[in-house]
């Protein structure tokens, strides 16, 4: 009898344990699926909401999709919404920032990974990490208070009047500062991953340390460095708060003059919201879709360029 009782207890315990296992597995699985479905939810909901203004049944008056996409005027007050020029502005400011930041990032990464003595390298690494950890709103305050002043003074040299320094150039400089740490830290990782024997071979063939660094190391780390550039560009396109503080909000465009105010997709989404219904609200979601498409396409095209360069080598 005694034996029976312990036996029963055992199976009972065993079953409980199995049930517990099944329960937790289900729970873990459910949260993994929940986490991974977030991206689908985000894209799905924004797509549906953002495409509404172009549907025939739209309650605030259907908008023409084509004129939204290529329009060169964006005026909330008169209900004209064209984001064509805003897309161009976004591309100009993003690629402009990349143009400034990319060489600086690669050179700094090379310095940290290969050239600097150990103590200096680790100090520089900290500098890059600090730059990366400064929140965008703080960069925004800095840009609004100092970069704009710089741009204003620079423009005054050419006898150009700016809107208090808020300008395309200010946006580019600000974004360059913000994407610099992103590109640099990825470039450092890429450079450190270059196999030692490649460098040894180059050195053995009589190249100097510097020649090896610039010709062998950099070209071997190319693909990683480009990945950093892609990430930086994505950040530049998606950056909202800081950019809105220095962009001004131009109503038409595109803006090619670096001293003129500009308007990016993010600053369009972020600023001037008054109501949470109506076209002016819904059109921000449409701009959100355009933003995601811009990021996607630019990523794909940089990837394409990367592969082209890769096959040349």
């Amino acid at each position: 009898m005694n034996h029976e009782r312990t036996g029963f207890k055992h199976t009972h315990n065993y079953r409980n344990k199995l049930r517990q296992d099944a329960f937790f597995k289900l729970l873990f699985q459910a949260s993994a699926i929940l986490s991974s479905s977030m991206i689908v939810i985000i894209i799905g909901f924004i797509l549906v909401k953002g495409l509404q203004p172009f549907m025939a049944a739209y309650q605030y008056g259907t908008r023409d999709f084509f004129s939204f996409l290529v329009g060169t005027v964006y005026r909330q007050d008169s209900g004209i919404y064209g984001v064509g020029f805003i897309v161009i502005n976004t591309l100009i400011s993003g690629f402009g920032a990349l143009l400034i930041a990319f060489p600086l990032s690669v050179l700094t990464a090379l310095f940290i990974a290969k050239i600097a003595p150990k103590s200096v390298a680790s100090a520089m690494q900290t500098v890059v990490e600090l730059l990366a950890s400064i929140p965008s709103v703080v960069y925004g305050v800095f840009a609004a208070g100092s970069i704009t002043v710089m741009v204003k003074n620079l423009a005054a040299l050419f006898a150009i009047k700016t809107a208090g320094g808020s300008s395309l150039l200010a946006v580019m400089l600000l974004l360059a500062i913000m994407i610099f740490p992103t590109i640099t830290s990825i470039a450092i990782t890429a450079i450190q991953a270059v196999p030692e024997d490649l460098e040894q071979a180059s050195l053995a063939l009589g190249a100097t340390r510097t020649q090896t660094n610039f010709k062998i190391v950099l070209s071997s780390a190319k693909s990683g460095i480009f990945a950093g550039a892609i990430l930086g560009l994505g950040r530049a396109f998606g950056e909202a708060t800081a950019v809105s503080m220095v962009a001004g909000n131009k109503l038409f465009g595109p803006t090619f003059n670096p001293f003129d105010i500009t308007r990016t997709l993010t600053s369009t989404i972020l600023t001037g919201l008054k109501e949470t219904t109506g076209v002016d609200y819904d059109i921000r979601f449409s701009a959100g879709i355009v933003l995601m498409v811009v990021i996607l396409i630019s990523n794909l095209s940089i990837n394409f360029i990367k592969n082209r360069i890769g096959s040349d080598a």
Partner: protein, 407 residues
């Protein structure tokens, strides 16, 4: 000759790397110098507990007897003491460079402590003692002839003139107009704490459980790479898109629990999604470092899988989880774009979970957005944010060293 040219070229190229490194140091220094030079003067302990909005008060207090108050010995030299009414004031310049008179001391027996509200309405007659740190706008003083004069900052008096008018010319004071000091960050601090608590409360369990599934259960499942890359995709989504998503998807949920419009809860829920990839990744990283023989030993001793996970694997993974949490807190404190639409930009001095409010970062956006951007306040808040972020960074590094321990 050729060697010389090569040497020159090498030096030039090397010089370029030095130069670009120097530029990055310069930029970092400039950011710090800017923020500190603009914001340091605003920083003081009172600022943390002050409201953002200053409140105007229209009060009166009973006529004092013939009592004469004595100056306390602890009073600083630049303060002016009114022997007739028993309080001291100081000159002071506020953030928008206006000259103010601030009350720095009130005698425990002073009639100022028995002030009542003069504004008509429900609160009329309620006791509202005048407190230290309020600023004096106007005292309407009655002189010996029964005529009423104005004294205080409103008639451009400084502290000394103000006290002289009170003590030499007045018989009684018919009404008082004072202001509490604004420009503080108490409301945003509270809202930020709420934000950190609630968003971590949502994100940590979901994140850890997802990481456990990916690393412990589905390591070799065909679905896992898909799950992993769709979580990774979240890191590439700009935060403003998260803000749009919050308004669209999560707002109905917060509306169900009683929030009308933007709320701290909505902001926290939005942020919890932003944080998921960070927490999942760092948890997974540390789960990977837990050696397999730990699991085998536990299983062979008769523990089931969930017992093994909760009692053996998770405790060993705590440093990694903590790293994720610290990184997340940094992200929450710095985040602005995703919060502007979900929490609102109105600085709320008394934020609740279901009411609007601003985090510190959003308060910066808010004070920078007006007609005249308030650089002092924005920079002062920036200093706080930078300090917190720096501390978090150091702790993450410290933890990373801990994490590297071998079993």
């Amino acid at each position: 000759m050729k060697n010389n040219r090569r040497l020159l070229k090498d030096r030039l190229l090397n010089g370029l790397t030095y130069l670009s490194s120097a530029i990055s140091v310069l930029v970092l220094t400039l950011v710090f110098i800017f923020v500190f030079s603009k914001g340091a003067s605003t920083l003081n302990l009172k600022w943390f507990t002050n409201d953002y909005w200053s409140v105007n008060m229209y009060l009166s207090f009973p006529a004092s007897g013939s009592e004469v108050y004595t100056i306390p010995k602890t009073l600083p030299a630049q303060s002016q003491f009114s022997t007739r009414y028993g309080f001291a004031v100081e000159d002071y310049v506020d953030e928008s460079n206006q000259k103010m008179i601030r009350i720095v001391y009130i005698d425990p027996k002073s009639p100022l402590l028995e002030s009542t509200v003069l504004t008509p309405g429900e609160t009329f007659g309620d006791v509202q003692p005048i407190k230290v740190n309020m600023t004096v706008q106007k005292f309407s003083v009655v002189d010996a002839q029964g005529e009423i004069h104005s004294a205080g900052a409103i008639v451009k008096q400084d502290a000394a003139q103000f006290i002289e008018t009170l003590d030499k010319e007045s018989v009684s004071v018919s009404s008082v107009y004072v202001q509490t000091i604004g420009g503080g960050i108490r409301g945003s601090l509270i809202a930020t704490l709420y934000l950190i608590l609630v968003s971590l409360l949502i994100a940590i369990p979901i994140g850890i459980m997802s990481a456990i599934y990916l690393n412990e259960y589905a390591q070799f499942s065909k679905l896992t790479p898909w799950i992993r890359s769709s979580i990774e995709l979240l890191t590439g989504v700009p935060s403003i898109i998260f803000g749009l998503m919050g308004m669209l998807v999560l707002y109905p949920i917060t509306a169900m629990v009683g929030a009308s419009g933007t709320s701290v809860l909505l902001g926290a829920m939005t942020l919890s999604i932003v944080l998921l990839p960070t927490i999942i990744r760092s948890t997974e990283e540390s789960l990977k470092t837990v050696p397999d023989h730990f699991r085998s030993a536990s299983l062979s001793l008769g523990a089931n899988r969930s017992q093994t996970i909760f009692k053996i694997v998770l405790p060993s993974a705590i440093p990694g989880i903590l790293t994720g949490v610290l990184l997340s807190i940094g992200r929450i404190i710095g985040e602005s774009a995703a919060l502007i639409y979900t929490m609102g930009t109105f600085v709320n001095d008394d934020p609740k979970l279901l009411s609007g409010g601003t985090s510190l970062a959003v308060q910066i956006w808010s004070v920078m957005g007006g007609e005249v951007p308030n650089f002092q306040l924005a920079s002062a808040i920036s200093i706080i944010i930078l300090a917190i972020v720096l501390i978090l960074n150091v702790s993450v590094k410290f933890l990373a060293n801990k994490l590297r321990k071998t079993w």
